[in-house]
């Protein structure tokens, strides 16, 4: 009697645990304000609709390494992972992410346009499901840059008119492009030049002219802090961070949209999930990347939705009540002169140029 009772109880417990875990879905993202925007725009409506319990894991910064380790250990515990496009590409190359058929597995636009057409060239890898367009661009202290506010990215390299510190990211990506651009290289020639050893030296030589005035950052939150302290007069960071400094924190900072570099952030589904989990992950993705959902996210954070069809639906900020469209990096007024991160190029040259960049930094 006792034994059977025990058995029944344990079975029930195991079963309920099984059911609970099959209703759970772990979604990995960056944390902070960004995760909050996803929670509001995607997770909450999805849970409401399906009853699936979504667990947030703020591990995107370690996602590439962890996914690889999980894959090798045959223990993938994540269902959907938010990564930048370059990481998605790396994961796809390593066979760690699931290849997606964008047209059949994603929702079409409301007018029937296929998903691959709606996302357009933003589908940079077979495994990558674009979510937002963000940009790495410059903000400057309006009270510290003198009488003429900078209008061009080359102000960063102009110590004469804009003396003072500036902050740049501690990696070659973007900085090398800006350096070449301000060294007189035409925009569509930049990557051809950067492919050569001389071109790389040329970019580093240009950066060398401001090396003593640069504060190098490695976390996205650094430049906003440096600007707020007046430690730097201008600095690069993600446009959403600058939006928060300017509109939410009311600091004397303004945006410099010139030569902003578009980058993409989006989802991947890890390779090696069970069929059932994969199906659920795909169901979530189908929901979370449709036109309306992508437009909803822009209510909470100033990143542009990756679908062309979402742009007209972008409304007002949920708390501040200001129109979000003019703060999107994709807004025509802001996107007069832009770059799209060259994923193929950096997948090939990242390690090589990074070694050179680090050697240059260490000099």
């Amino acid at each position: 009697m006792n034994l059977s009772k025990f058995l029944v109880t344990t079975t029930a417990l195991t079963l309920s645990a099984g059911i609970a875990s099959s209703q759970d879905m772990t979604i990995v993202s960056w944390g902070g304000a960004y995760s909050k925007s996803q929670l509001k725009a995607y997770h909450e409506p999805y849970s409401e609709k399906t009853g699936v319990n979504i667990i947030n894991d703020d591990s995107s910064a370690e996602a590439v390494a962890k996914l690889r380790a999980m894959n090798e250990a045959n223990n993938v515990t994540w269902d959907v992972v938010d990564v930048v496009a370059a990481d998605a590409m790396r994961l796809c190359d390593e066979g760690l992410a699931l290849e997606i058929d964008h047209d059949t597995q994603l929702a079409p636009a409301p007018d029937g346009t296929s998903a691959s057409e709606d996302f357009g060239e933003l589908i940079v890898s077979d495994c990558f499901i674009p979510q937002i367009v963000y940009s790495t661009t410059f903000g400057y202290r309006t009270d510290l840059v003198g009488d003429t506010a900078p209008t061009s990215v080359c102000a960063v390299f102009d110590l004469e008119n804009y003396p003072g510190k500036r902050s740049l990211e501690k990696r070659p990506i973007n900085n090398m492009e800006w350096a070449l651009l301000c060294d007189g290289v035409a925009k569509d020639e930049v990557y051809n030049v950067l492919e050569t050893s001389e071109g790389q030296d040329r970019a580093l030589a240009k950066l060398d002219t401001i090396k003593d005035s640069v504060v190098w950052w490695s976390a996205g939150a650094d430049t906003p802090q440096l600007l707020a302290d007046g430690e730097v007069i201008m600095g690069s960071t993600y446009n959403g961070r600058l939006f928060s400094v300017i509109e939410e924190q009311k600091q004397p900072v303004a945006m410099l949209w010139d030569a902003q570099v578009f980058d993409l952030d989006g989802w991947i589904i890890p390779a090696g999930l069970s069929a059932e989990r994969q199906k659920r992950a795909l169901d979530y993705i189908y929901f979370a990347t449709d036109t309306q959902r992508l437009a909803d996210q822009a209510k909470y954070i100033s990143y542009g939705p990756a679908r062309a069809s979402s742009a007209p639906l972008v409304g007002k900020h949920a708390d501040l009540g200001i129109d979000m469209a003019p703060h999107m990096p994709t807004d025509p007024n802001n996107a007069k002169n832009t770059f799209l991160y060259n994923y193929e190029f950096w997948a090939d040259y990242r390690d090589d140029i990074d070694a050179k960049f680090q050697a240059w930094l260490a000099q």
Partner: protein
Amino acid sequence: MLDYSEKYSMEVADGTPLKKSLARSLRKEKLRALALIAPLLIFVLVTFVLPIGTMLTRSIDNSIVEEILPRTVLALEDWNEKGDELPNEMVFRSFVEDFQDAIADKNHTKIGSRLNYEVSGMSSLFRKSARKVKKWDLTDNAPIKQKLIEVNKAWGDVETWAVIKTHSVALTNGYFLNAVDMQRTPFGAQAQPENKQVLVKLFIRTLKMSLIITGMCILLGYPVAWLLANLSNRTSNLLLILVLLPFWTSLLVRTSAWKVMLQNQGVINDLLVWIGLITEGSRLEIINNQFGTIVAMTHILLPFMILPMYSVMKTIPPSYLRAAKSLGATNWTAFWRVYFPQSVPGIGAGSILVFILAIGYYITPEIVGGTDGIFISNRIAYHISSSLNWGLASALGAILLGVVLLLYWVYDKIVGIDNVKLG
């Protein structure tokens, strides 16, 4: 002649010879000691030493090329990678066969990424070529070589094939060579181009900075430890709280605090300007360089120096110093010849702790180090979490570990590891 010990053998109460009984009790004691140690030893061995050891084998493991391109590796054996002639049709055919298999298994980009660590461009070469090669029909025995070169002219470069052959060995020294700024080439180990040499420099810097930090900790820690050891217990325990408080505050918080203190518009500069020691225009550059790193890390590691020093000094009787003085020694001689030698184990213990901990740090240098305050661990972290070049990361880690073990051994020889005390 009878053996003395046999003749006069002593016996214990139950009649066994004393020698035997002693040996038995010694064995018993040994077993008991081992039984006490065993659970922990097994725990550490299984959950730590073994996994780390496996991780470090990645620094020589290179079976991936042979696994994904088996026929190519075999066919390339007869080809001279030092000449300037392309491999023959057979090699190309084997390669395309391997490549098609790899595409079917979705392995082709893996090998591209692996070879891209050695030569830039391999990654996209494999990725792009796959789209075309995938559809080829190999049954008609038509020549493949020209067809592949037409897909991408890089296949017509001797260098491409030389790279594949050079890195086709299952166990490679390539990662270790990379870790010391060299590379594996068809012509043996060669130095990396000068503008890519950074790792040796970082190793040296890491060692140098860790030494400076250790030195600073000794300088600052010694007087404090002396004071603590020579005050009454009540006062010294009160002061000990001042030492321990920073120790209990999160590393991240302390590093941020130093940023607030040291930066250009920070507390120290503001204070100096307010006092008037420096002018508004000449604020000191004390962060984002080696100075900032040294200050912040000295602060973070100082308790690790003070505590062992303190516990050793606590055991030195103050009467020795008085005796020396009463025998006519000056203050300095008494300290230097009598007190100091006895406090050396404390310095040793603190130094080894601080040095070992300093050498492996990377979060603090990352935050306050700027350009010239980066340590080798920052690169290890980069290769683990960004570039996925785990082979190189393991090689760097193995070298670092080797250095630490060497120091540990030297330390054990000179001071003895038993003398490490933490308070």
